[in-house]
């Protein structure tokens, strides 16, 4: 580039330094005007008007976001910023006004097919651009855009034939090279940012090599997914991961359900046992003190208390009218014993009686 540039500058100096062309033109002008003076009336006025118009055609305005690139006899001469400017009119100088601030966009892997009625855009995939091989022999569907600006208007205008398709082809090559070094999982998940950055750098270096004058603003992945043919399987992996989490959550909720219940049950078992212990001990203590109290009185008058207690108990027992009592002498008893109906008859009879 450098040598090229210097050569051009050199040549320009050689050719325009003395400016022979202007003198030549000036002479012709003079001759023409002298000639016109001899014709009376209108032609002279017409000539002046034409000359003024011709001079006025050199005025040009550079809009914001543009630069004016002036060529003199086809060779690049100067670059001017926004605002009004003047160039020597045709055929000496001409001006080109590339929009250097405008960010241009190139779509790879899809095209914007148009706008739907609700104002959203409609896209159509271009599989032959989008399908790329990854480093682990898988295929991904990658759709991305490249945003770029004209970084160097002179290079942009003069150094490269068809710069926009060049950017697209280079972007595709760069992206494929980068994707070719990745595994499908990193392309589909975590590696996106890195892919964007690497591709941007690679693309910029490729475009610099062509002296394209293009500055890559951004490479942005739009939609990166598994190819249509295997999409279902990929989605199923995602839902399998969800299923896994679900199974674990369900198990944990089961554990959360039964363990506190079990702890409660254990506590209640322990409390029951404690209650049992306390109650049997207290019962024993109560009965013991009752016994001791009675014993104290019993010791004071053993025989009478013994008899009293015995008689009271018997009275209580035998006063029950439902208790069948048979009183027989020892003699009778001796004879009667074998005939005592010691079967269940009496019970049944008395049971019947009781039932009525």
């Amino acid at each position: 580039m450098n040598w090229d540039w210097e050569k051009l500058q050199d040549k320009r100096q050689r050719q325009f330094g003395s400016g022979p062309d202007f003198k030549g033109l000036g002479d012709e002008f003079k001759r023409l005007s002298e000639f016109n003076f001899n014709i009376p009336g209108g032609p002279k006025v017409i000539f002046i008007i034409v000359a003024l118009l011709w001079l006025a055609s050199g005025i040009y305005i550079v809009e914001p976001g543009e630069v004016g690139v002036v060529k003199r006899f086809g060779a690049y001469d100067r670059t001017t910023g926004p605002g009004p400017h003047y160039h020597i009119p045709f055929p000496v100088e001409s001006v080109l006004k590339p929009k250097v601030s405008e960010v241009q966009k190139i779509e790879v892997g899809y095209v914007t097919a148009g706008m739907k009625q609700d104002g959203s855009f409609q896209y159509r995939g271009v599989p032959e651009e989008a399908l790329m091989l990854t480093g682990d022999d898988n295929i991904v569907d990658v759709q991305f855009i490249v945003q770029f600006q004209i970084g160097d208007p002179v290079e942009w205008l003069f150094r490269l034939q068809r710069p926009v398709p060049t950017v697209k082809a280079a972007a595709e090559a760069a992206m494929r090279e980068v994707i070719g070094n990745k595994t499908i999982d990193s392309v589909l998940t975590s590696g996106k940012l890195e892919i964007q950055n690497t591709t941007k750098e690679l693309l910029q270096s490729i475009l610099d090599r062509y002296n394209s004058g293009v500055t890559v603003v951004a490479v942005q992945l739009q939609d990166v997914h598994a190819p249509k043919d295997v999409m279902e399987a990929f989605k199923d992996v995602a839902s399998a991961m969800e299923d896994k989490d679900r199974f674990i959550n369900e198990a944990e909720s089961y554990a959360n359900d039964i363990l506190p219940k079990a702890r409660g049950q254990a506590a209640s078992v322990l409390n029951d046992a404690q209650a049992y212990r306390e109650s049997v001990v207290r019962k024993a203590q109560g009965e013991a003190s009752r016994f001791l109290a009675m014993l104290a009185e019993y010791n004071k008058a053993k025989d009478i208390t013994h008899d009293r207690l015995f008689i009271e108990a018997m009275e209580e027992i035998f006063s029950n009218p439902d208790l069948e009592k048979i009183i027989m002498s020892d003699e009778a008893l001796k004879h009667a014993v074998p005939y005592l109906p010691l079967d269940r008859q009496g019970r049944v009879k008395s049971g019947d009686k009781g039932g009525k």
Partner: protein
């Protein structure tokens, strides 16, 4: 009137002559000057130039970087796998005279490059494996092709700036196979996730069950111990108290037992004179 015709005529004539003497070369071009078909100048850059009218003519040649895009073609890799490769090349004319003498037009140059690059790409890719072509050594392959082609095109006055492999795809039938493999890989993975989930779930559930069982067993153990302690304490309390008069306890306890056991549906045979009926004799 006559003088006017002469003036206009001479003006037209001088304009034609001037146009024959002067020419411009655009910033995107370079030029060589031919005098009756023989080159008489070195390469001319952009700007205004002069030549002799009628006997010299100028040939304008593009000085920009020109693209050449090859259509995609199937190429065999080292391990005889087929890849569909398409590439593009960026080149420019650095010696317009040589270019003009050998190729003359950009179209012919493209046709020539097509042959050359196609052959070079084939050779280069044929000495690498598919994996290398697709990923690790792509840049290297392209550099080799670029420099090889550059050597070959030097006599044509061309310079190859870059040969770049754009797409490296598999033929459709291989693609099908890859899709099949990708699908089965994913299915395997999905299955793994699900069964890992079930494994984890079974572990958690059974651990919980185990903890519950142990918890309850511990509680039962403690409970039996407590009950035993209670029974022991009670027994001790009883024996301490009752031990003070075993015969009174026997008597009392017997009475109570009589009360409880002798009631409805019992038949008692009594003999007068004994115990309770001793006065009945």
């Amino acid at each position: 009137m006559r003088s006017l015709v002469i003036v206009i005529g001479s003006l037209l004539l001088s304009a034609i002559v001037a146009m024959q003497c002067v020419y411009t070369v655009d910033e995107t071009q370079q030029a060589i000057l031919l005098q009756l078909g023989k080159p008489v100048s070195e390469t001319l850059g952009p700007g205004l130039h002069f030549k002799l009218p009628f006997i010299q003519n100028v040939v304008l040649i593009d000085s920009r970087v020109i693209s050449y895009e090859a259509s995609s073609a199937e190429v065999l890799t080292k391990e005889k796998k087929t890849l569909v490769v398409d590439n593009y090349a960026k080149w420019r004319i650095i010696d317009p005279l040589q270019f003009y003498q050998t190729l003359r037009t950009v179209e012919r140059a493209k046709a020539r490059l097509d042959d050359l690059i196609y052959a070079e790409v084939r050779v280069a890719i044929g000495s690498y494996s598919m994996k290398e072509v697709v990923s690790s050594r792509r840049a290297e392959i392209m550099a080799v092709v670029t420099s090889n082609v550059n050597e070959t095109v030097k006599p044509y006055g061309l310079q190859i700036m870059d040969v770049r492999v754009k797409r490296t795809d598999l033929p459709p039938q291989n693609e099908k196979a890859i899709f099949g493999r990708m699908r089965s890989e994913r299915e395997r993975q999905a299955k793994l996730y699900r069964s890992e989930g079930l494994e984890e779930s079974a572990k958690i559930k059974s651990t919980a069950d185990k903890e519950r069982t142990i918890l309850l067993a511990d509680a039962n153990k403690a409970s039996e111990t407590l009950r035993g302690q209670g029974d022991a304490d009670a027994t001790r309390v009883y024996s301490e108290a009752l031990g003070q008069s075993p015969e009174f306890y026997g008597f009392m306890r017997s009475l109570e037992a009589y009360r409880k056991s002798l009631h409805d549906n019992s038949r008692v045979v009594l003999t007068p004179g004994s115990g309770f009926l001793k006065y009945l004799k």
